[in-house]
Every structure is written in structure tokens, then in C-alpha cells.
Symmetry: C2
Subunit: 400 residues, 2 copies
């Protein structure tokens, strides 16, 4: 019986703590690194500090279009006493970015030159050593840290790695996630629906968000409510993946096997969180790997992805995979919530002269429309039973 682990009163914070602690003990957060060619590293997360293999720039370069000179040879030039230089011994023409010839240590920019002919130039001021040049290592010294550990390889970070002579970079290995859709009432939405069947569409949520959060999703074919088949899929999934997500089968219906199966294969740490939507979630660990029974209503699936899977992956990466911007605004109408339960209210922000007006959207946990129309989430904590109309509240903006 799973009774003893059906922790109806577990808060979201306690659920995070229980589950992460068990995974931590199992060593799941000890990431493994992999080397990837630098040009393919866009969007990955560094596994360790990345250091410059060569200085940037690796040679002295011109910072201007003009002529490269030896500063010492220009000492006498004055506005009223111009100095004439002849190439190639007196100057070399350079453009911005050109490596400086060995004999030169300064650049005079083209605006300050008077070319008498192709080979002869007049200058009106002495150049100082280092004038208009970029010294070696100006941007990064050899061995300097380009990027700390657990930082994203933005396009500029990739460019810096290439400039610093790194043909490969060490990034955190992306966890492999297996998504197992289950339910005898479900069918593939891309084929004509058999009578009495309902289209399976949550895998689109899993695929979209897991990819966005850098966990490589594999989609298992749909399994009917068959305990043996589901157990086999989870057992095989755990053997070859880092994370297994079963959708759905987490409530108290006849065919809700997920909890029993996870309990048999490993350990159920949390069954039921005092949150809405998403209450009947199952958080387990099997062979040291996270296994989640995700409730089937689309909004519940979405909340579990955002409130449990995202923090799991962020703890793995040691990096915030998704920005969390908030704004404050006034509630356009009263919001109800069950005392003792954290409530995730989908809202639409309407800009006004007095700041955003926050419209809570109608729609149950089954309503994809409420997710599509939302551009923010209002979180009502456990200790409150809602907010009155006109209340100033803070809303998390949704990324698109």
C-alpha cells in the first residue's frame, strides 16, 4: 500500500527539499561533462571555468585605419614643423584589426595624415608608443578566465572561445529525459481518432519545455493502462535515461498505477503536493534517478514542468535556465484560493497609465486556452485564501 507516502499535506517547498535531498544522496546532481566543438556549443552551459589558450588579441593590432610607425622616429613632428615619412622604411599602411609590423609600435590614424604621394606622407604630431594600437591580451590574457563554470555559452562567449584558440569546450552533458504517455482513453492526435478516444497532446508540452531547458527529450509511444507494460517502460527508461516522466496515472482512479509501480521499482518520496493545479503529482527515485508521475490535465502538466522539472534541471546545471521577471499590478477582480494550498493563477496583463491591470483568466486545469492566453502567473501562497479586487500583486511574466 502507498498510503504512508501519500503526503497530502506536503508543501511545494517540502517536496523540493525531500526529492532533491534523495537525489543529492544518490549523486544525481554530480554532472558529467562532455567536450563539444566550439562552434556547436551555442546555448550549452559550461562545466568548468573556460580559460584562454591564447591571448586575445594574440598579437599587437592596429586600432585604427592609418599608418604603422616607430614612435621614436616621429618625435620631431609638430603642427608647424611637419615630418615626412617614406615607405617602406618610414611607415606601413594598416587598417583596423591588422597585426602591427614587428618594427612598429604606434599607429597614426588616417584623418591625421597628409599623403603627398603613394609612398610619402606628412605628419603633424609625434606618435607615442602604443598609440592607437591594441596590445596583446587587451581583451583576454592567455590563461584568463573567459567564462566561469555554469555559465551559458552565449554567442559572444562562443566568439571569445574561438578568439582564444579553443577548438572544443567542456559543457555540462544534457540530461536525457524519457516521456511516457499512458492512458487507454488516449490516441495519437496525428491519426483519425477511433471512437471513444481522446487525443494525446501533453507530449507537445514535454517536448517543447524539455528542449528549451536543455534536457534531451525522447517520446515513448503511447501505452494503454496496462500495469505490466508501464512498469517495463519505466524500468527500461531508468536504465537508459537520466529522468523519466510518466503522464498520467497519478490520481485515485481505477487505472492509476504510476504510484504503485514507482514504489515497487524504487521509492516514492512525495505523492500529492498542496498545490493547484498539479496536486496529484508523484515524485520518486528509481536507481538514483528522478521519476515523476505527472498529472494529466494540461495545465497541471505545465505547472509540474515549471515548478518541479525546471528547478530540478536548474539544480543539475547550477544555472538559471529560464529568466524570472516579475511585475507589479492591480487585480482586476477577486481571486479565490484554497487555504493551505498554493494556487497558480493564469493571468493576462493589460497595460494602463497606472501600471498593469491583472486579469485572472477563467479556465480549469483542463483548459489549454487559459495557458495560451496567459502572459503571467500569479502565485497565491498557502497561507492566503485569495486576494481582493484592486490588490497590488506581483506576477511572474511568461517567456515565449
Amino acid at each position: 500500500m502507498v498510503k504512508k507516502t501519500y503526503l497530502q499535506k506536503t508543501t511545494l517547498a517540502q517536496a523540493h527539499a525531500h526529492w532533491f535531498e534523495a537525489l543529492d544522496r544518490a549523486g544525481w546532481f554530480e554532472q558529467t561533462a562532455e567536450l563539444v566543438p566550439t562552434p556547436t556549443a551555442h546555448g550549452r552551459v559550461s562545466a568548468a571555468p573556460i580559460r584562454a589558450a591564447r591571448a586575445v588579441p594574440h598579437v599587437v593590432t592596429s586600432a585604427m585605419d592609418g599608418i604603422a610607425v616607430r614612435a621614436a622616429a616621429t618625435r620631431t613632428a609638430r603642427i608647424d614643423l611637419p615630418l615626412t615619412l617614406k615607405r617602406p622604411e618610414g611607415f606601413v599602411r594598416v587598417d583596423t584589426g591588422d597585426p602591427l609590423p614587428d618594427a612598429c609600435d604606434a599607429v597614426i590614424k588616417v584623418e591625421d595624415l597628409n599623403f603627398l604621394d603613394e609612398r610619402t606622407v606628412e605628419i603633424y604630431a609625434a606618435a607615442f608608443p602604443g598609440q592607437s594600437v591594441r596590445p596583446t591580451g587587451e581583451d583576454f590574457a592567455q590563461g584568463a578566465t573567459l567564462l566561469g563554470a555554469h555559465h551559458p555559452l552565449t554567442p559572444e562567449a562562443v566568439a571569445a572561445c574561438l578568439a582564444a584558440g579553443l577548438q572544443t569546450v567542456e559543457v555540462v552533458r544534457a540530461p536525457k529525459a524519457l516521456v511516457i504517455p499512458t492512458g487507454s482513453e488516449l490516441a495519437d492526435p496525428l491519426h483519425p481518432l477511433p471512437p471513444g478516444k481522446y487525443p494525446e497532446t501533453n507530449t507537445a508540452l514535454f517536448q517543447g519545455y524539455l528542449s528549451r531547458w536543455q534536457a534531451t527529450p525522447t517520446l515513448h509511444p503511447l501505452i494503454p493502462d496496462d500495469k505490466i507494460a508501464i512498469q517495463a517502460a519505466i524500468a527500461q527508461g531508468v536504465a537508459s535515461h537520466d529522468l523519466v516522466l510518466i503522464n498520467a496515472g497519478t490520481s485515485k482512479g481505477r487505472e492509476d498505477f504510476t504510484t504503485t509501480i514507482i514504489e515497487r521499482l524504487g521509492k516514492v518520496l512525495v505523492h500529492g503536493i498542496s498545490m493547484h493545479p498539479g496536486h496529484p503529482v508523484v515524485l520518486g527515485v528509481v536507481d538514483g534517478k528522478p521519476v515523476v508521475g505527472v498529472p494529466g490535465y494540461p495545465v497541471a502538466t505545465w505547472i509540474i514542468l515549471n515548478q518541479l522539472v525546471l528547478p530540478l534541471l536548474e539544480k543539475y546545471y547550477g544555472y538559471q535556465l529560464q529568466s524570472r521577471h516579475t511585475v507589479k499590478g492591480r487585480l482586476a477582480r477577486k481571486v479565490y484560493s484554497s487555504l493551505g494550498e498554493i494556487e497558480f493563477v493564469r493571468v493576462r496583463l493589460q497595460p494602463t497609465d497606472d501600471g498593469p491591470l491583472i486579469h485572472p483568466l477563467a479556465g480549469k486545469a483542463s483548459a489549454l486556452s487559459s495557458l495560451i492566453n496567459a502572459n503571467g502567473i500569479l502565485i497565491v501562497p498557502e497561507a492566503l485564501s485569495g486576494y481582493p479586487k484592486g490588490e497590488m500583486v506581483e506576477v511572474q511574466l511568461l517567456m515565449q
Copy 2:
């Protein structure tokens, strides 16, 4: 001569207006649409309103785990006068999400049932028609708009399209961008650098940002400063791509051919914008397509991508491709800027109890380090020569 089009005093706003107007006249913003299989549409942008081919749900389904009944047959049930129902004629067991049997119109949830045996249940209250059921079309009616035109296909939008029976969706065709790196002083950073050569790294910026903003990048091999070769590459690029970006060759050096070539092939609309970094940019139109001469310093390339290429693509898509969140904070030190020039200052935000402290980062337009260390951009408008230390300023947060 390009003299007449070298508009040194063009502001960024004027540059947008000139360039976009010419492209608008050429019909460049009239997007073409393409049909893609719905499961592959993640992240794309809708080309037209997307409507439901079938209702969601397409049948009446149970909203609870329990039994499906005919409401009329339960009328006499009272707490003090329980009613006994027998299956299959009296009730059918259902789980959440199960389609309702044809003869039934209500669901009584499992918590309100007393099973006397497998086939017999006692109920204590009458059910009303529609009780605990999801009616057909509760989420979306058939023909209802799932998503307006120019909206991103988020995971939840993809799920809704699948639920609504759409095997394909019409999305805006992604523009094809050709990136042409030029410069005799440059060499492929993935091979040992020949003496006197400098690694070409800006293509990493182009590749990363263009992909992020849904323009498909093609990277042309590096071309030396050879007018004929560059002109051929641009002409061929325009024939087979929607957008051509040449890096660099936009300043006044000996080998800065880009302006001349664009003028010869089409029209230079803007050469030089009163902004820093990024001043010597060239905005042109060749055969009705945008051609940009992008200055070569990495920060200048980055600014041109963000301030000119991103708005171009957003106008094409009719959709904001990148969030623009701003925060207010106090400047940790004085910021200088040239009067008449818009200045993009890379800054680092430091959270404090009094709100963010804004640190302007040192580093010229050549400094990739200043981009990597920045998490915000402070824009000093043309009319100001800077901000004093301690000034409250608004900073655009950088996305990662």
C-alpha cells in the same frame, strides 16, 4: 562616389525609417507562409489565425474519477434516502478524461459513492445534468481561433493545435540569411593561425543571434579583401537569400569595398549612423532585399545585430522575437557619451538593498569581455552627453 549617401548625421531612428520604407516599397515585409507538421512547429510564428478543426474536447468527457449516470435517473437520491444503482444499466465507471457513454449526462465523483459490491453503488444526492463533465468545446469550439496571426507556437499552442485536429499549421517562412565574413587579415579560428593573421570570430555572433531570432543563417567561407570576389558573393547571396550581411569593410580603410559594391549592385540608403559602437554601418537594398555592411569590431557587430537586424526581423514576423525587460537602478559611476550620438553602454547590475547598482563596464568596441560580463545595456540618447554618478537610469536586461 558614395559621398552623397554617407549620412554621418543619420540617427538610429531615421536609419530605421529610411531602410524599412525602402524595403516596404520593395515588398520585403510581405511574408510568405509555409505549412509544417504540427509537432515540428515549436517556436515558429503563426502566419494567419489558426482555427480549431474540431472542438476541444471533441466529445463530452468526465471531469472526475467516479461513475457516469443519467441525471434524470438519480432524482430521488437523498442523504437520508440513498439510491442504489446497478451496472451496466444504472452506471458506468469512468476516470477523469474518459469520454462519457452516450446514455449518460452526469458524473458522480468517487468520494460521494458507497460501493456495496463491484456492480452495486449507493448514492446520497441527485446528480444534475452536466455535473462533473466537460462539455464538447469547453476549451475551444470547432472553428474557434486557437492562436491569432503573428503569435509564437509555444508548447501549449502546439498542444492545442494537436488537440484541435490540426496535423499541419501555417507558419511564417523563416528568412534565409547569408553571412559573408571578409578580410585579408582574418583566418579560420579552428585551424592554426598563419603568421600575421587574426582569428575570424564574428560569424559566431551572427550564427547565434540569427538562429535565436528565427532567420536561418548560412555562413559563407571567409573572403579576402578582393573587390571582385566580394561583389560576386553579395550578388549570388542576394539571388538565393532573403538577407545578406557582410562583415566588415564599412569604414574608410584602404580595402573597405562594401559601400561601393552595394552602391553598384543596388542602393545604399544609410552609411553611418550617429551611434557608438556601430557608427560605420551600411544599410542597403539590392534587388528588393536588405544588405547590411556590418562593422567588424565584435561589440559593433553585436549592436548592429541587436539594433538593426533584430528590428528588421521583428517587423518581418510582426512579432517581438526577444523580450525587452528593463529595470531602474543607480549609476555607480559617471558615464560619458558624445553629444549627438546614441551610446550603448554595457553594464553589470549589482543587486543591493536599495535596488540595482549599475556598473558601466570598461572596454572598447573590440572587447568581447565587456559583452560577456554585461547583463544589461544602458542607452544614452543623442541629446545627452552622459549621466552623472548616482543618476537613476533605466537599463535593458540582456537575455541569455
